[in-house]
Symmetry: C3
Subunit: 154 residues, 3 copies
């Protein structure tokens, strides 16, 4: 088990199986030393997709948990693409999309569910740039979708 996977276990978390793309694309593309990861949806530990909109149907705690699950799905894709999570040099950028009603303004708190996971798991290497915005609805009515760019060691 790699150093990073020990961190994940120490958090009481289990790395999920990486999700197959819902459609005609691939989960990750590695070009030079940058891994581009497709937008990940929040599948819970039991495999159920976390659905519903913030502000109207779901509360802050739900949204943060959903963002954390997106983060775990991102890490599962890194593991599948790189073999060893210790090859992660830096989480460079997260793009967080929050499904919400038009009066919901706590997108940053939601996205923190993923951002804080990255720092807990990768330490300094987990500190990333980020954008976080609302959207009216996401694929399969997911509550959150997050994509990523990750710098990797050869």
């Amino acid at each position: 088990m790699s150093r990073i996977e020990l961190h994940i276990a120490a958090e009481g978390l289990t790395l999920p199986a990486p999700a197959a793309p819902v459609a005609a694309y691939v989960p990750t593309v590695l070009v030079d030393n940058l891994l581009h990861i497709s937008g990940q949806l929040p599948f819970a530990a039991d495999g159920q997709l976390m659905t519903g909109k913030l502000g109207s149907e779901r509360d802050l705690a739900w949204g943060q948990a959903a963002a954390e699950r997106c983060g775990l799905m991102l890490i599962a894709q890194m593991k599948a693409a790189l073999g060893d999570l210790d090859r992660v040099e830096r989480i460079v950028k997260l793009g967080a999309f929050v499904a919400s009603s038009a009066d919901f303004t706590d997108q940053p708190k939601i996205a923190n569910g993923c951002s804080e996971l990255m720092v807990r798991v990768f330490g300094e290497a987990g500190r990333h740039a980020r954008s976080a915005v609302s959207v009216p609805v996401l694929p399969l009515d997911a509550s959150v979708e997050i994509d990523a760019i990750v710098a990797v060691r050869p």
Copy 2:
């Protein structure tokens, strides 16, 4: 005619003229070996912009056709920037924005209109990472907007 342009012709498709930006920016920026392409709107073969929202005003087939047109506009920008489409090494990432009502959850099927075109035209090199989300409305009421990052050969 390049190998890739023969593929395009074999698909019964014609490469459109690359769109001039609607505003104060440029269609593409090449930095190192990555070509960043501005968000492209779905201009049909007759030059008309494909408008209207999925879920309320437009159906799945319309949206998929619009996404395919965004894909052709992206390829037209690659051709304009690179001269020869055979210089495309890999479609790295697509960012797909679908204008829709708040109850529309088939963003992946819409974005496939573009994703499948990339694979038909570029083969393995066309397999990319992707995010696909809804937005309430797009520039000029377009149905779909898609931007891209493309790895190129020197």
Copy 3:
């Protein structure tokens, strides 16, 4: 004062203090020669956040001014990360998110508030690729959020 900062002064503009992230992430990540900048919100010269949605609550001029303030916040982050703005080689890509009602279709005009600032400040190096879309709402009810990728000299 660097050449670029003289341009900013010549525009009658003052570089704001770079914003602290609203949450658990960092403002910028530099990897190889690319600086990834987190989504910036439009803080006015007096430090007030420019809020409200285009199409319903705010007009075009407001939105353009908000986008220009996002641009200044982006430049403030470049200065904080690079020390000297003359190290900016090229503004590569802007991602503009406009908070709006579902009938607002002038996203490109809004985003121009930022795009034109980049060209006034950086000249040819300020010409960038861009995507511009609407979203139903942004963090803290901001009117506009813009993130960026910037190529830098060593």
